[in-house]
C-alpha cells in the first residue's frame, strides 16, 4: 500500500517537480522584481547589475557561497524568507524596529544620505549658523524633515513639499535657498542642464533620526548566516572592495559615514 502511494506520488512529481532542493552552501538572494537603478538594475534578458548586485557578488566570493537570485514582489519578501523560499532579503530593506520583531538583519550595507543643494555661489556651511535665515525645502512626512527640524529647525525656515520635483521647481525660481532630499534624486537634477548653477553643499551624517540604513534580511536565529555575512561585509569594507564598487556608481559614500 505504501509502495503504491509512493509510486502515485512519484507520478505526481513528474508533473509537479522543479529542481532539487537547494544545496547546503547555496544562498538564495531575494531581489525586488521592480528594479531601482542605480542600486539595482535589470536587463530585459533578466541579467541584474548595479550597486547591490556588485556587493552581493563580492560577498559571495568572500563567503565562498554559490549564490542565486530569486525575483519576488517586495510585499512577498518577508513571507518568502520565513517559508524558506529565499535565504536573504537583498535590494535595500531598511532596518526598522517593526521588521526586527519578525526577522533578523545583518549589519547595514548601505545607507544613502540626504543631500543639501544650493546655488554654487552661495556660501553654506552645514551648521546652525550656516542655515540662519535660509529657506529650506524638504519633502513632507520624511525622516529628512524630522532630522532637519530637530537640528536646524530654529535657525532655518522650513517649507514642506509633496515631491522632490516641486522642491526643485521652487529652488530654480528663487523661492527657496536650499533643497534638502534624497541624494540620488537631487544628483539627477545637478547632472541635468538645469542644474548647472547649483552644487551639492553637503550630506547628512549617520543619525538615528534618519534610520539605521539597509541590511540583509535573514531568518530569526540564523546566526550562522548572520556571522558569515557580517564577516564578509567587514572584509570588503576593510580591503577597499566596497569603496571601489561605490565609486563605480556614486560620487558619495553609500555606506554613510559613522
Amino acid at each position: 500500500m505504501t509502495q503504491k502511494f509512493v509510486r502515485i506520488l512519484a507520478a505526481v512529481a513528474v508533473f509537479a517537480t522543479g529542481a532539487a532542493a537547494a544545496a547546503a552552501d547555496q544562498l538564495r538572494w531575494g531581489y525586488d522584481l521592480a528594479p531601482f537603478p542605480p542600486w539595482n538594475s535589470r536587463s530585459p534578458a533578466g541579467e541584474w547589475s548595479g550597486f547591490d548586485y556588485d556587493i552581493m557578488e563580492a560577498l559571495c566570493t568572500h563567503m565562498q557561497a554559490d549564490c542565486e537570485i530569486v525575483e519576488i514582489a517586495w510585499d512577498g519578501m518577508i513571507p518568502a524568507l520565513q517559508a524558506n523560499k529565499i535565504d536573504i532579503i537583498w535590494t535595500g530593506m531598511s532596518i526598522t524596529p517593526q521588521r526586527e520583531e519578525v526577522i533578523d538583519f545583518s549589519d547595514r550595507y548601505r545607507r544613502g544620505p540626504a543631500a543639501y543643494i544650493a546655488e554654487t555661489e552661495m556660501d553654506l556651511p552645514i551648521s546652525v549658523e550656516g542655515f540662519q535665515g535660509k529657506s529650506v525645502g524638504i519633502k513632507k512626512a520624511t525622516n529628512f524633515y524630522t532630522y532637519f527640524e530637530h537640528y536646524y529647525g530654529d535657525a532655518a525656515t522650513v517649507k514642506l513639499y509633496d515631491t522632490t520635483d516641486d522642491i526643485i521647481a521652487d529652488l530654480s525660481s528663487g523661492r527657496l535657498d536650499v533643497a534638502m532630499g534624497d541624494i540620488l534624486e537631487l544628483q539627477r537634477f545637478l547632472d541635468s542642464p538645469d542644474g548647472d548653477m547649483y552644487e551639492m553643499k553637503g550630506v547628512t551624517p549617520v543619525d538615528p533620526l534618519l534610520g539605521k540604513g539597509a541590511g540583509a534580511g535573514i531568518r530569526q536565529g540564523d546566526t550562522a548566516l548572520q556571522d558569515r555575512l557580517n564577516t564578509a561585509l567587514k572584509e570588503i569594507r576593510d580591503n577597499g572592495e566596497y569603496d571601489a564598487i561605490a565609486k563605480k556608481y556614486f560620487n558619495f559614500d553609500p555606506y554613510g559615514s559613522d
Binding site: A16, A34, R42, V70
Partner: protein
C-alpha cells in the same frame, strides 16, 4: 542606464534592449495561470454544487464551510497563506515519507492550485444557483426516460444549467484574469509584475502602468468574444 531620451516604442520593441518579449511572456503567463486555475475552479465548482444539492448532510456542510470560508477572506491573503503553508505541508509530507528534498513543488502548479481553490468556492455558488433555476420538470423527464444519474447530468442538467451559469462564469473569468496578478507576491513575473519591473527600471511609471492596463483591456475584450460564441451555442433551441 538613462532612459529619458529613449522613445516608448523602442522600449517595448523586441530588440535586445526592448522589453517586448518580457511583456509577451508576462501576458502569456497571466493567460496560462488564469486558464489553468479557471479549469480547476470549474471542476471544484461542479463538485461543490453537487455536494450542496446532493442531499448528503456531511457533504453539504463541507461544501458550505468551503464556500463560506474562502469567500470571506481577501484573495491576496489566501494566496500568501495557501502558497506558503501549502508548500510547507508538501515538504513536511515528503519528510514523513522519508523523501526529504527529493522534489520541490513546482511554483506554477502551486499558484494554480491556490487560485483554482479560491475560484472553486465562487464557482460552486454560480453552478448551484444555475442548477436550482432549472425547472424541476427537466430532471423528472430525464428520470422518466430511465437515464442513469451520470447520463442525467451529462445530457440534461449540465447543458441546460451552463446556459444560465454563463454570465456568472464570464464575471469570474474577468476577475480571475485580474486576480492572477496577485501571484506576483509569490514571485511570478506575470503581466502586472512585468509592468512594475519595467516601470522601475526606466522610471517611467505612469507610461508602463497604462500600457499594462491596455493589455489587460485587450485580454478581457478578446475573451468576451469567446464567451459570446459559447453563449450563442448554448442558446440553440431557445429562440
Amino acid at each position: 542606464m538613462d532612459y529619458s531620451q529613449t522613445s516608448f516604442w523602442s522600449l517595448v520593441s523586441f530588440s535586445e534592449t526592448g522589453w517586448g518579449w518580457a511583456f509577451v511572456q508576462g501576458a502569456w503567463l497571466t493567460v496560462r495561470i488564469s486558464l489553468a486555475s479557471y479549469l480547476l475552479g470549474i471542476i471544484l465548482g461542479l463538485l461543490g454544487a453537487r455536494a450542496k444539492l446532493g442531499g448528503n448532510r456531511t457533504l453539504y456542510w463541507l461544501a458550505e464551510g468551503y464556500t463560506t470560508l474562502i469567500r470571506a477572506i481577501p484573495t491576496l491573503l489566501l494566496i500568501i497563506v495557501l502558497y506558503y503553508t501549502g508548500t510547507r505541508f508538501f515538504d513536511a509530507t515528503l519528510n514523513v515519507l522519508g523523501l526529504a528534498g527529493a522534489m520541490t513543488l513546482n511554483g506554477f502548479a502551486a499558484v494554480v492550485f491556490c487560485l483554482g481553490f479560491i475560484l472553486g468556492a465562487y464557482m460552486t455558488e454560480v453552478f448551484r444557483g444555475a442548477i436550482q433555476a432549472l425547472p424541476p420538470g427537466m430532471d423528472e423527464a430525464a428520470r422518466s426516460l430511465a437515464l442513469s444519474p451520470v447520463q442525467r447530468f451529462r445530457l440534461v442538467t449540465f447543458p441546460l444549467m451552463m446556459r444560465l451559469a454563463l454570465p456568472g462564469l464570464n464575471n469570474l473569468w474577468q476577475s480571475t484574469l485580474k486576480d492572477s496578478s496577485l501571484v506576483s507576491v509569490v514571485g511570478f513575473a506575470e503581466l502586472l509584475a512585468t509592468g512594475k519591473m519595467v516601470a522601475g527600471e526606466t522610471r517611467m511609471y505612469l507610461t508602463f502602468y497604462l500600457f499594462v492596463a491596455v493589455i489587460f483591456l485587450a485580454l478581457t475584450l478578446s475573451s468576451n468574444l469567446v464567451f459570446a460564441l459559447v453563449a450563442r451555442r448554448l442558446d440553440r433551441g431557445f429562440r
